[in-house]
């Protein structure tokens, strides 16, 4: 019962937080952390549920950010023909959707590749993919402005009765927006993993030959997982682009993928709450450290924290907390698997 209430309590807390937390800096940290948490949740679908370690995940984030930014700003492509291909500025939500779709399309490509290229090779291909994207963003100056960055990106907007369409410039509305998108992503993942489709994904992680032997087309489900994960990462990228309103090639840096991986592993891969817990922790950690340590020291702490977690808490915080919880309550052992635990709907 408590386990069912927990997500609702947490949501209520996050939704009402701006009522008493008016510090703009804290809100800003929460917005950036929230964007990263969406990225981490999407990575978790691959890493935690299908068991594929992809270290190029930031590429989808960056593709979403650049596509959404470019569509909302308008651009022209000189494809060698007489007339350049001109796209005028699009409404922000169309641009945002375009970013999601573009990222998802690249996700489909990577998913197809994942079954030809396995294990360590796949990891390196995904890293390379993100690197190539960064090089393209740096060098295709006509389109991306290269290192000068895309600037003046319009914010996302909403239509309010009586006020018409208004741009979301302030921290509070961006906070609520990111929270809303995060909730949608959470629900999507939750529905997915607790379904026939999600079980097929977990089967791929747990025992691929056995999955195939019972007729699961593992390639198909991996592609579905990468498409959805990439689309969500693209959405996070779009939120980012329209929030900070500037996008430069550094959005493709490897370190951001690493940050998402740390969030997922720390919280607990293959759990619904894991990326959220890990994300809040590693979103807050730099802010706490900022007061006491130089950035280099922060990164040293980051690196060491990653090692310590893999050594001592390899399953992550959420499963560990779950076990502790069950030990503290000496009632009948509640049935519930690690893989799909948080997604269970069985009425006890």
């Amino acid at each position: 019962m408590t386990q069912q209430l927990l997500p609702w309590l947490f949501l209520a807390f996050m939704a009402t937080l701006p009522l008493w937390m008016t510090d703009l800096y804290v809100l800003h940290v929460l917005v950036s952390t929230g964007i990263f948490i969406i990225g981490a949740m999407s990575l978790n679908l691959l890493l935690g549920y299908t068991g594929q370690l992809s270290l190029g995940h930031i590429a989808f984030f960056g593709i979403g950010a650049y596509t959404s930014a470019l569509l909302s700003l308008g651009f022209d492509l000189d494809l060698g023909g007489a007339e350049p291909f001109v796209v005028g500025p699009q409404p922000v939500w169309i641009a945002f959707t375009g970013g999601v779709l573009m990222a998802a399309a690249f996700g489909g490509l990577i998913g197809k590749l994942a079954f030809r290229v396995r294990g360590a090779y796949f990891v390196i291909v995904t890293i390379s993919f993100a690197q190539v994207m960064r090089m393209v963003a740096l060098n295709w100056v006509d389109l991306t402005e290269g290192p000068m960055a895309l600037t003046g990106i319009p914010p996302l907007s909403v239509w309010l009765p009586g006020e018409g369409v208004i741009g979301l410039y302030d921290k509070l509305s961006n906070y609520l927006l990111v929270l809303g998108v995060a909730v949608v992503c959470y629900v999507v993942i939750r529905h997915l993993v607790d379904s026939r489709v999600g079980r097929a994904m977990v089967a791929l992680r747990e025992n691929e030959p056995l999955a195939r032997s019972v007729g699961i087309d593992v390639t198909r489900y991996l592609v579905i997982a990468t498409v959805i994960a990439a689309g969500m990462a693209g959405a996070a990228g779009g939120l980012y682009a329209h929030y900070v309103r500037i996008v430069d090639p550094d959005v493709f840096l490897f370190i951001y993928t690493v940050t998402m991986v740390i969030m997922v592993i720390t919280g607990g891969k293959g759990t619904l709450a894991g990326p959220i817990v890990g994300g809040l922790l590693f979103g807050a950690l730099p802010e706490v450290l900022r007061e006491v340590a130089r950035p280099e020291v922060q990164w040293i702490v980051y690196g060491i924290a990653m090692i310590v977690i893999v050594f001592f808490l390899p399953q992550g915080i959420v499963p560990a907390a779950g076990r502790l919880w069950e030990r503290l309550r000496p009632r009948r052992p509640a049935p519930g698997g690690t893989a799909l635990r948080a997604g269970k709907e069985t009425s006890a």
Partner: protein, 276 residues
């Protein structure tokens, strides 16, 4: 039926009049020059328990891998109900009703027992991605239906009381049973069991034989690879003996048991009893 096997032709497999569930024709497998299977042909009549036996390294697991599409043979064909399995992927073969278990890990260790069987039921569900994402009305009904089927299968193999347990926490014998339950969930017409009784104690083996007979009595054809000769000779309707990648004998258990070439093959390696 299970106590006294129906009389089947002892000698030539080609003369079997019963419908054929599986027809292996002149299959050969070479691994970079090494011959794993020289040329193998046999048929599995529908509704029978057929055992594939032979000394270690005789090519039994290789044969399973070929039949279920995990390995492409160098030559030969495997036919099942008019389809040539050698051209198909494992998942397509499973869709035709040919399902196997694996020697070592035939379970999804990180999931609960019930989830294991639900995963095995994949082919009996219809929910696709979009419906799952949106939780369309049909999804819940299907889930209910599949859960009921899963419970039925778990009851059949005797694991109903363990449905919430993590598969990794089951005893070894229970894990073997769960492996069978997953395979049954995939709705097989032909079930291939790869050393299902390896490592079981005598009473577990006894119970296991009951389950296998029950599967046959549900109309599922069973092809068994097993080292436990007592089990093989007790439950098989027909036995195929493989040695050095060649079939050296085929027929009813009693006939095979007294075949001089079979005895020689086994003695050559030292008599093996149960527990591989």
């Amino acid at each position: 039926m299970s106590a006294a096997p129906a009389p089947v032709p002892v000698s030539a497999p080609a003369s079997a009049p019963a419908p054929v569930a599986l027809d292996v024709r002149e299959v050969a497998v070479h691994f970079s020059g090494l011959v794993a299977i020289a040329s193998m042909s046999f048929r599995v009549p529908e509704g029978e328990i057929v055992s594939l036996i032979g000394p270690n390294g005789a090519g039994k697991t290789t044969a399973f891998n070929v039949i279920t599409g995990f390995l492409k043979p160098t030559r030969g064909t495997v036919l099942c109900g008019g389809s040539d399995l050698t051209r198909l992927t494992p998942e397509r073969i499973a869709a035709l009703g040919v399902v196997r278990t694996f020697q070592r890990t035939s379970i999804f260790a990180g999931c609960t027992v019930l989830e294991n069987v639900l995963t095995g039921l994949h082919r009996r569900g219809r929910t696709e991605t979009l419906a799952a994402l949106l939780r369309l009305p049909g999804v819940r009904a299907e889930t209910q239906r599949l859960r009921a089927t899963a419970a039925e299968i778990l009851a059949f193999v005797g694991l109903a009381h363990r449905d919430g347990e993590l598969a990794a926490n089951l005893s070894y014998g229970e894990q073997r049973l769960l492996g069978i339950a997953i395979a049954l969930a995939a709705d097989p017409r032909l079930l291939l069991l790869d050393e299902p009784a390896a490592g079981l104690n005598p009473s577990e083996t006894e119970a296991f034989m009951g389950v296998v007979r029950g599967i046959r009595d549900r109309g599922v054809t069973v092809l068994l690879v097993e080292h436990d000769m007592r089990m093989v000779m007790t439950i098989s309707d027909r036995v195929v003996v493989l040695n050095h990648g060649r079939i050296i004998a085929e027929g009813r258990p009693e006939a095979v048991q007294s075949d001089p070439e079979v005895i020689r093959a086994y003695l050559g390696q030292g008599v093996r009893h149960a527990q591989g």
